[in-house]
């Protein structure tokens, strides 16, 4: 594979440039010569940008860096708007027919919105075809894979420090990428992931179907029991409901005990009132009886006494009161005046008259003992007794009435009492008790019903879940078998890949080691000084001198460059990607004899591979030119163009 043509439009210094690289004979060496700053490195960068969209020296910058050069036209020439950057790189296969195509990367900047388009167009005998973006990238991988580009595009100075640090990881990675070992590793990794994924699936514990089935049977037994309990609870609930209905009906038919009790209380109050009235009435009656008893007991005596007093008055046996001094004056003075004779005590007439007067005086004393008020009191007493008798009779009647009322109340109370303490009250109490019991039973059966219904629901869910689990377990069993089978296949494939990788690695490492030694010995001018260049199992490059000592560290700059080229060539050959070798300023760090040997090495290399060298004008010296004379296929010179900062490429005629 080689580069046939490079076309640059608007890329850095190159306003419009074409670099044709026709295959030469006997060598395929192409030289571009230019002073510093004219764009040698940018020419190599243009190839990188076209193929991979990046420039190694622009790392850290964005693609806008490509537009930082404007080519101002000379005076009198109208400036053309720089709207795009375009690099075309045309590759051809070894025979120029099997694979021939042009990569094109175009970058436009319209109204501040940069846009990049990448394409690959083939031009084979079968016709032309255009691939864009990702498809175009696949074609890049067929020419020079991106992972290998550092082994095709070199800076001369870089070649001089190629083995600095002698990083085996770098060499190993490069070698693996080139030889397909990395690809095998990737396959192995994917297979490993696949195996792990399958192991996870298989590793997940599959429930034991027997255990699940036993659980189902157990739960079914529980379900049956719960269903029986539910039926019992429902029946119990119905029984309690019916009983409550009957009790309610009976209670509706039963006499209202509360009314009776109210009536009883009312009658008891009335009874207490009557009792009080009776007591009061009796007390009054008793007083009247006591008062009347005095009159009644002595009624006859009083009547007699009254009669006697009346008789006495009529007979004037109750004279008015007579003062004793009057009688004494009559006896001692008045009788002397009347009779003219003084009577002495002991005289017969005096004594008779004194007795008479005494009897008159005694009679008159009744007036004091029985004053008129007292005499008139007896009839008044009798009248009052008559009145009290009427009151007594009334009182008796009242007492009788109250007693009757009391009897009536007592009868009512007895009736109520009999009703209350009778069988109906007991029945009501029993009904109330039964109602409470039935309500409790209804509540309990309702709760039981809810509980059993809930449990049945849960058990049904559990059974459904178990059924699903059994089904899933059976399915998983089959799946697991299938996965195990697949895992076996993948494991075998992974073993094959591992083996292939190991073999390929061994093969590649061996091939590289052999090719490295062969190329090194072929390219190195001090063939007697170095015994061999080798690659150990750790991918460390060794160069041994004729005494067998390690000589890589003591190699000169040119010798290191040669060793690096030898190693790169080995990589190219082993990987099968026989791309061109593009080296920028290969002689920058060498001079004199070493530069001559280096030029001879590159000239020798160009006989089997396309070599594109970017040389400063100071590098193309007398040590170099003779070596390149025979193998140079084309030579180009970089010069300032007509526009400001423009570089133009012109073929040099030697």
């Amino acid at each position: 594979m080689r580069i046939d043509e490079i076309r640059l439009t608007g890329y850095r210094q190159y306003r419009k440039a074409v670099l044709c690289l026709p295959q030469g004979h006997p060598g395929d060496l192409h030289i571009v010569v230019g002073r510093n700053g004219l764009g040698k490195t940018n020419l190599m960068n243009a190839i990188e940008w076209c193929l991979y969209g990046t420039e190694s020296h622009l790392s850290g910058k964005n693609e806008d860096g490509l537009l930082d050069i404007s080519h101002q036209p000379p005076r009198g020439v109208a400036p053309s708007e720089k709207t795009s950057v375009c690099v075309d790189v045309t590759f051809v296969g070894g025979d120029g027919q099997t694979c021939h195509g042009t990569f094109e990367r175009v970058r436009t900047n319209s109204a501040g919105h940069p846009k990049t388009h990448f394409s690959f167009s083939t031009m084979t005998t079968a016709g032309s075809k255009i691939y864009a973006d990702e498809d175009a990238k696949l074609w890049v991988e067929r020419f020079i894979p991106e992972g290998m580009k550092d082994n095709y595009f070199f800076d001369g100075e870089h070649l001089a420090v190629f083995f600095k640090g002698n990083d085996p990881g770098h060499l190993k990675n490069a070698l693996w990428k080139l030889s397909g070992v990395a690809l095998l590793g990737l396959v192995e990794e994917h297979l490993g992931e696949l195996v792990r994924d399958l192991q996870k699936k298989v590793g997940a514990k599959i429930p034991d179907i027997k255990v699940l089935t036993d659980q189902v049977e157990e739960d079914k037994d529980l379900l049956r029991q719960e269903q029986l309990d539910l039926k019992t609870a429902i029946k119990d609930k119905e029984t309690a409901t019916d009983a409550l209905e009957i009790i309610a009906q009976k209670l509706r038919d039963a006499p209202p005990a509360t009314e009776l009790k109210d009536r009883q209380a009312e009658l008891e109050t009335k009874q207490a009132g009557l009792r009080q009235r009776l007591s009061q009435e009796r007390a009054e009656r008793n007083v009247v009886v006591c008062r009347l008893f005095v009159v009644a007991a002595l009624l006859q005596d009083l009547a007699d006494f009254q009669t006697r007093l009346v008789g006495m008055e009529e007979r004037r046996e109750i004279p008015p009161p007579i003062d004793g001094s009057i009688l004494k004056r009559i006896l001692e003075q008045d009788l002397v005046c009347i009779c003219g004779t003084k009577f002495e005590k002991g005289d017969e007439h005096f004594e008779a008259l004194s007795e008479l007067l005494e009897r008159v005086r005694e009679k008159s004393e009744f007036q004091e003992v029985l004053p008129p008020q007292l005499r008139s009191q007896v009839p008044a007493l009798l009248r009052a007794a008559e009145e009290q008798k009427v009151a007594l009779l009334k009182s008796r009647q009242t007492i009788a009435e109250i007693s009757d009322q009391q009897l009536d109340v007592e009868k009512q109370l007895d009736a109520i009492h009999n009703t209350l303490v009778g069988h109906k009250v007991q029945e009501i109490a029993n009904l109330e008790r039964q109602r409470v019991q039935m309500q409790q039973r209804l509540y309990a059966s309702g709760k039981d019903e809810d509980r059993h219904s809930g449990r049945i629901g849960k058990l049904e869910d559990v059974l459904a879940d178990l059924s699903k689990q059994i089904e899933a377990a059976a399915k998983r069993g089959k799946e697991t078998q299938e996965i195990s089978r697949r895992m076996g296949i993948v494991n075998r494939a992974m073993d094959v890949v591992k083996d292939a990788k190991g073999e390929r690695e061994l093969e590649v490492r061996g091939a590289v080691a052999r090719d490295l030694n062969e190329s090194f010995r072929d390219l190195m001018w001090k063939k007697d000084s170095f015994d061999e260049a080798t690659l150990d199992s750790n991918y460390v490059v060794h160069v041994r001198d004729d005494l067998g000592h390690e000589a890589l560290g003591s190699l000169s700059t040119a010798e290191t460059q040669v060793a690096a080229i030898a190693f790169t060539l080995a990589l190219h050959r082993v990987s099968g990607y026989e791309g061109p070798m593009v080296i920028d300023t290969p002689f920058a760090v060498t001079e004199g004899e070493l530069r001559k040997h280096m030029a001879e090495t590159l000239a020798s290399l160009s006989r089997t591979k396309q070599v594109l060298l970017m040389l400063k004008d100071t590098e193309l010296t007398t040590e170099v030119e003779p070596a390149f004379a025979e193998v140079t296929a084309s030579q180009w010179v970089l010069n300032n163009g007509e526009y400001e900062k423009e570089t133009v490429i012109k073929e040099s005629v030697s």
Partner: protein, 147 residues
């Protein structure tokens, strides 16, 4: 015969004081606000009348002043006079000795208390009904007789 003045205070026997003071006695029924009680004079008169009706004078063993004569009303005096007159076979002159009259009255009252106590103890509550029946009968007879 010269007139003898009535005593200033009537006496009862000492053992009869409790009877007169007993408000709960059958004859003095009633309690609290509804109590209808006989006055001391009326109580004395009741005992006197009972004694006159059913007994004979009983001398007091130990006199205890009970009520002042000035509080004795005319009714009481009339009743006592009539009863004593009857007791003395209608001899009104007996009244001229007021001391003897009231002494006899005290003795009849003492007798009456004894009799009532006995009846109360014996009849146990039926006594008042008997008294009532007696009163009604006697009053009816008396009304008819004295009409």
């Amino acid at each position: 015969m010269s007139r003898v003045q009535a005593p200033e205070i009537l006496s009862v026997d000492e053992q009869d004081v409790a009877f007169y003071a007993d408000d709960k006695s059958l004859l003095f029924t009633g309690t609290g606000k509804l109590a209808k009680r006989l006055s001391n004079t009326e109580r004395f008169l009741l005992a006197f009348a009972y004694g006159v009706r059913y007994g004979s004078p009983m001398p007091l063993k130990k006199k205890t002043s009970y009520v002042r004569m000035e509080y004795i009303d005319l009714d009481t005096k009339a009743v006592v006079m009539a009863a004593i007159t009857a007791f003395r076979k209608g001899d009104v002159s007996v009244l001229l000795d007021q001391s003897a009259v009231w002494d006899l009255a005290e003795q009849f009252a003492h007798e009456g208390v004894q009799l009532i106590r006995q009846q109360e103890a014996y009849k146990r509550g039926a006594m008042i009904e008997e008294l009532e029946a007696f009163v009604v009968t006697e009053m009816d007879n008396g009304s008819n007789k004295h009409a």
